[in-house]
Amino acid sequence: MSKTKKGNVVSYNKWGYIFLLPFIIVYVVFQLVPLFNTIWNSLFEYYEAGLNVVGPNFIWFENYKTLFATPDIWKYTANTMIMWIMGFIPQILVSLLLGSWFSDTRLRLKGQAFFKTVIYLPNLIMASAMSMLFFSLFSQSGPINSILMQMKILEEPFDFLYNTLSVRTLVAFMNFLMWFGNTTILLMAGMMGIDASLFEAAEVDGATPGQVFTRITLPLLRPILIYVMITSLIGGLQMFDVPQILTNGKGEPANTSTTLIMLLNRHLFSKNYGMGGALSVALFVLTGILSMIVYKFSNSEE
């Protein structure tokens, strides 16, 4: 009797593995193998010079040395982080606000479904299309400049796309616009998961809405916040399409909006697989470290 029971358990387990199999296969073929391949590639001198192929020559960590010897890598890392933070701060604030409004049962907002759809809509547009749109809007002969000139705010067209602050702001704004809807929905889901009786109890005790938010909502929302933070961080480090299209791939002005992935793109455009690999691995490690920091930092306060 007991034997057959045990057998049943085993055979059920088997189905678990079988259902996992498609994912595992896809993951190994398309993620894990390329990952190790990239690491392996980063140890070679391997590029195409015109019509000639140089390498692959095994050169240990020379690519990494070259990579970190140029000051540009730090500059691009800073660019990436600055533009991410510039977009993330307003994004998280607006999302928290909207999320708490949407999930507040006492407010009973009308047309919630409509607004939730609207704020999510920008995310449905391709980042490149969005970027192209802003490129045309803000070009020197574009509509924004002509409106500002007709309103006598500007005397001559301002080159929004060749000014460090305005380019970074535009990139951050686009990222904000595209992602705040997504974040709102995530945070809202988290907020709705909080036991309503806690809010009622706080109210009975005479807590102000501000106190309710900081003492109850935020602490209980922490797991979701960490999740949002880490996914956004990873997305931010991989920022590419928006600045690439907005600045025509040049990271204008003077590479102050060049991100790490844009640099990777340049290496790969010259078919420099060694350097491309090294940069990818560096980025992988950086992402890992930063995610760890965020995770530890947010958990240690307990």
Binding site: Y47, E48, A49, L51, A254
Partner: protein, 464 residues
Amino acid sequence: MKKKLLSVLLSTAMVAALLVGCTSEEPVDGGNAPADGGEVSTEDGGAVVEEGKVLNIYCWNEEFKSRVTDHYPDYVEVDGTTGQIGDVTVMWNITPTTDNAYQNNLDSALKGQADAAADDKVDIFLVEADYAGKYVNVDYSMALSDLGITDADLANQYKYTQDVVTDVNGNLKGSSWQGCPGVLIYSRAVAEEVLGTQDPAEVQEYVKDWATFQETAATMKEAGYFMTSSANDTYRVYSNNVTSKWVEDGVVNIDENIMNWVADSKAMVDAGYTNTYDLWSEDWSKGFYPDGKVFCYFGPAWFVDFSMAADAEGSIANAGQWGACSGPQGFFWGGTWMCPATGTDNPTLVKDLILTMTANDDVLKEIVVDDNDFTNSKPVMDAMAADTSYSSKVLGGQNPLGMYCAGVETIDLSNLSDYDQGCNEEFQTAMKGYFEGTYATEEEAIAAFYAAIVIKYPDLTVPQ
């Protein structure tokens, strides 16, 4: 690698064998076939060997396509990217030049050439002077003599156009239908208003050297006009008058005259005489219209006719309100060469296209009359320069050919390197940062240029 070499060798041998077949028949109508002899060989070749049904042409814009559409007798346009010559389909593979996209695309096509199916093989690819050397000095391009094109066929061409596509062993590997000596193109209306004259000879006095050019720029600024649309407009004029190459022994080298351009341009930008737009950008092209308030551009014949919005209602070119004079220094810009690709499966058609488009005086004359290009035939151009009945509509009835003829004699290509395109592009990008003040110093901008160029060309090093 060895395998690839072998297959390239084999395919060359095959094509060579094929051509031996052609030439062995040709002596019947005499070795001294006239320039239009190409047509004869089409019939002969077509009858003898079965050739590919698809002709693949790699290029970066519509210019050559429109030339073929208008001037190649049997060409019928099917749609935007295909055409028909007899029963052969012509496929146009068009990739823009910017950021090396065209070259990268062409490189991978050529590397796959040996293994590609006959209909997918590159048959003709176009190159510019900026990187012609890269393709001419490798086996992926074919010597014209292997196609049966003789020096006599191309005797009327300007010598410099052949120098560009001659490999280190002296084989001619391409042919062009145009010559590209550049001129200064000025707005007649602005010249009349500010300088009080629109006569080319008199305007030339105001732009005869760079110092005078700067003085005139100050006058233009006072009158509310920009001297040029962008600092990059004058770039070619400086960069064609250099005394050293961009790359010497694998090391990037910035010529003194390029630095003169930096100094002069910085002064002009700071004084508000010009802007820093990228060439071909929308803002840069504003000057093609009267509202753009631009006095002059620099460019060769193709630029005047092909690029200055001559078809657009309201443009200066449309009204025929540009004038041309020789400007501060002679220069050339661009030029398109047709190169037959090794391994082509349509050798006779390729030969005929090259001969018709680049060596047939009648066709070349037609191109001048219809499209105002400066074509690659010395006798035709000399005759037309003297012909008072020819005039350019864009240039308000002026006949600029004499100026081009004089300019073409001074073209010096000894300082071309295979890396010119990337170097020119990255240098202008970096210097824009300096002109606009984002890089505080020249050194900073040059460091940025060095950083960018080693990414674009990993095989180069920069001076320490």
